[in-house]
């Protein structure tokens, strides 16, 4: 199992390998000068500050919404749940663009940019990374323990914080981690909203400086930043802690807090947040479509791009999930130093900008997998590298909440370990695996830089089409693709949440 897990992580680590090879070609003195400059320090500070603020906000909003929809009697919880998941479907560059153009419309002459703007925009599209796993985990918590806490005189709120949240903690922290790393790696929003972060500097080096090596040197700093985040996160989590108890499962329906007179403020706050996140970019899209005269491509073009997006998203989702499962089981079942390191490493690659990952896969395709270069397979490989943690987080959380005693029971019934995993652990992990798969699909649909670089020649997806048209200021032509992109990404989000809510009954 260790070998399989190493292999999985190895795939995710290809870009790191590339970074190593390339950084070695860079004169050491220049490398050091680029990395240890005042500018680096400033960018790093900005990156970390933005990461910290956005992550905290995402945790607050994500957990708050998850609690409201899974653990209270809030009226209209289901619709809120579905709506709350949707912003994940909006690419950060579309959101940033939307916010900015709405700002110009609403208050011309003012600018919408900088740290605060970036915080608002990025938070509005990343909090579902916390919301979805948190909601899933909150529904899974063993009610027997909550009952025990209540019987020990703790009120519902106290019980919630001292027992329920603690059980959901692995899922919540992994969601927070995804947010943090997303912020570190985000380029679209920060470049539009003009916040100087490290990723933006890496992009500038690549895109404007044709300075590959400089970009790579800076990328290595990104990795260091990510490690900082991982260490911080590690302090909040002990993977080895057992959260599962036998006899749990969905013993009784999850307890709900009756919301009573808090209903109105809760509704306003929750819907306010969700609607703002959805409506601003949505209105911008509508406005572009209305204002422009450029004609959207033919139905065939739109349909083709849609199908292509669906296809790569499904392939990417399946491949990434397949890689994540053995790693997740290994991490949950053999909590060793190796397992912890592998998990961290899987997250590392996620923090690299798409260009860096794209270039590393180009190198691989040109020099090793020549037959596969510019085929779908290398593209899928790049997705695996980029998205592995998205699938891994929920899968690990799910594996942790599946009691290992059940595997032993299966083995005692004559099933080999692998079969025990397949027939017992896997079905018990299914909700987590499903969430991971959908999360990957959704992110693949939005992904642009690696897709552009690695897609088969002539292969267009919704994201590449959107890029083509917006690059040409043809916003009206771009609008249907943007709408479809959001809709396609909304399907997984909706599936995820509706499955969650079904489980609950």
């Amino acid at each position: 199992m260790a070998a399989l897990a190493c292999l999985t992580t190895g795939v995710a680590l290809l870009p790191l390998f590339y970074l190593g090879v390339r950084a070695a070609q860079y004169p050491a003195a220049d490398f050091l000068a680029a990395v240890f400059s005042e500018r680096s320090a400033r960018l790093a500070t900005a990156s970390l500050a933005l990461t910290a603020v956005v992550t905290v906000l995402c945790l607050v909003i994500g957990v708050g919404l998850a609690v409201l929809v899974t653990r209270t009697t809030l009226p209209g919880r289901r619709s809120l749940a579905v709506a709350a998941a949707l912003p994940l479907a909006i690419p950060s560059y579309v959101a940033a663009f939307g916010w900015q153009s709405m700002n110009h419309l609403v208050s011309p002459g003012t600018t919408f940019e900088g740290f605060f703007a970036a915080t608002v925009v990025i938070t509005s599209v990343t909090y579902p990374y916390v919301f979805l796993p948190a909601a899933a985990a909150l529904l899974r918590v063993d009610p027997a323990q909550e009952e025990a806490a209540r019987a020990l005189g703790r009120g519902p709120v106290n019980t919630f914080f001292s027992v329920t949240v603690r059980q959901a903690a692995p899922a919540i922290t992994s969601g927070g981690l995804l947010c943090a790393i997303y912020v570190i790696a985000d380029f679209g929003a920060v470049s539009i909203l003009r916040v100087d972060t490290f990723t933006r500097a890496v992009f500038t080096s690549f895109s404007m400086g044709f300075d590959r090596l400089g970009g790579i040197a800076l990328s290595s700093v990104l990795l260091v930043l990510t490690m900082v985040v991982l260490v911080v996160e590690g302090r909040f989590r002990r993977t080895s802690t057992r959260y599962a108890t036998v006899g749990s499962g969905a013993a009784a329906p999850a307890m709900r807090l009756s919301i009573g007179r808090w209903a109105a403020p809760a509704l306003i706050l929750a819907w306010g947040t969700v609607l703002t996140a959805l409506a601003v970019p949505g209105a911008a899209l509508a406005y572009w479509a209305y204002r422009g005269v450029s004609t959207p491509g033919s139905l065939a073009e739109v349909g083709g791009a849609f199908m292509n997006s669906l296809w790569v998203a499904a392939l990417g989702g399946a491949a990434t999930t397949a890689l994540a499962i053995p790693l997740a089981v290994y991490i949950a079942r053999r909590p060793s130093r190796l397992a912890r390191s592998l998990e961290r490493l899987a997250y590392l690659a996620h923090s690299l900008p798409g260009v860096v990952v794209g270039l590393s896969v180009v190198m691989l395709g040109i020099s090793v997998l020549t037959g596969l270069y510019q085929s779908m397979w290398l593209l899928v490989l790049a997705y695996c590298t980029l998205m592995l943690p998205l699938a891994l987080g929920p899968a690990v959380a799910a594996a942790l909440s599946a009691p290992p005693e059940l595997e032993e029971a299966a083995r005692a019934l004559g099933k080999p370990t692998l079969i025990a995993y397949l027939r017992i652990t896997l079905p018990l992990m299914a909700p987590g695996i499903g969430s991971g798969f959908l999360l990957v699909m959704l992110t693949v649909v939005k992904e642009l830089p690696a897709t552009l670089m690695l897609r088969p020649t002539g292969f267009d997806t919704l994201a590449t089409r959107l890029w083509t048209y917006t690059g040409n200021e043809s916003f009206a032509a771009a609008a249907p693709f943007a709408v479809l992109l959001v809709m396609l990404a909304a399907i997984p989000a909706w599936l995820m949440i509706s499955r969650l809510l079904k489980e609950e009954k």
Partner: protein, 338 residues
């Protein structure tokens, strides 16, 4: 605490039928009944985790049927312990304590109460054995000194010695604090020795409630009798307060119409003697239990088979012929029961 007319159904499946039970403050009541009879369900209703389909839960005269669990001052030890896996043993126990007591010696005292060494406070629940987990759950519930404590088979994973020790310790604590206790157990001995009053539930219906001696000596029906201990049931004819049966003439403990009845005796009432000194029987089968042997004996003449318990000073062997003699009185039940 009073439970009045409690009924509960899971979906289409009715589990409790109109159960009424009174637990006077400061007393211990034991609920016994076969597996699946609804004991846990009744307890969860009292604790406030289930709202009964019908009936009320009253506490000191107020209806608390819909008061939330944490405001009932009720302690609960659930059947599977439900320790918090993310907290150490010490912090599990400290969970219900007021903040000031969590650090002090109180946790050590509570561990001691359930015969666990104080250094177990640092263990995690998954590092405990089954019985140790159960004891931690017990210590956790007792720590709060609740007004009422609900115990769902709290000693089931303990060996006899430890069980008795723990039971006595718990009993002492409960008595000294005047706590009302409601104990679910499948162990009849435990029920009879722990409780001031015993309630027998079968198939969701309360069959009988009362003092242990009453319940054991005058069970409401044969099913209850059988549940509370081994029963020897013989056919007999009653006349004038005496019954005639395969074991001879025995006095009756209850009023009974004359005529055909079923007679209940306890195995310990049947003394094994030399063949010539009693009614003859043939030992068919014998089970060894350490301190005694339980034998199945076919009675000479009537072909009825009964179970006899004999202390192991003179073990019984299958095939042996023995004499039998009844001590004390029998209970008569009208025919038609089982």
């Amino acid at each position: 605490m009073q439970l009045t007319g409690i009924s509960h159904r899971y979906g289409a499946h009715q589990v409790l039928h109109n159960v009424t039970l009174e637990c006077p403050a400061g007393t211990a009541t034991a609920i016994v009944g076969p597996s699946g009879s609804g004991k846990t369900t009744l307890l969860r209703t009292a604790a406030g985790f289930l709202t009964p389909s019908q009936g009320q839960v009253m506490l000191d005269g107020t209806d608390i049927t819909s008061r939330p669990a944490h405001r009932r001052s009720i302690g609960l030890v659930s059947q599977d312990g439900a320790l918090f896996p993310h907290l150490s043993v010490g912090r599990n126990i400290g969970f219900g304590l007021p903040r000031g007591q969590r650090g002090g010696s109180r946790i050590g005292e509570l561990l001691d109460l359930v015969s666990l060494p104080a250094d177990y406070a640092d263990r995690r629940p998954d590092q405990l054995s089954g019985g140790q987990r159960q004891r931690v759950a017990l210590a956790r519930a007792l720590g709060r000194r609740p007004q009422i404590i609900l115990l769902d088979e709290p000693f089931s994973a303990l060996d006899a010695g430890l069980r008795e020790r723990t039971r006595k310790a718990v009993q002492k604590v409960l008595r000294s604090t005047g706590t009302t206790a409601l104990l679910v157990t499948h162990d009849q001995d435990e029920a009879l020795s722990f409780a001031d009053s015993v309630a027998v539930i079968q198939e969701g219906t309360l069959r009988q409630a009362g003092a242990p001696e009453n319940i054991y000596n005058l069970p409401a029906d044969l099913a209850t009798a059988r549940f509370l201990g081994e029963a020897v049931v013989l056919e007999g004819q009653v006349s004038a307060g005496w019954a005639e049966c395969a074991l001879g003439r025995v006095p009756l403990r209850n009023e009974s119409p004359t005529g055909f009845v079923h007679l209940l005796l306890r195995p310990e009432q049947i003394e094994v003697t030399e063949p010539e000194q009693g009614i003859l029987g043939l030992v068919l089968d014998a089970d060894y239990f350490g301190h005694d042997t339980t034998a199945v004996v076919r009675l000479h003449g009537s072909q009825e088979e009964i179970r006899v318990r004999q202390l192991n000073t003179q073990p019984l062997e299958p095939g042996e012929t023995i004499g039998l003699r009844v001590t004390g009185a029998a209970v008569a039940y009208p025919p038609g029961g089982h």
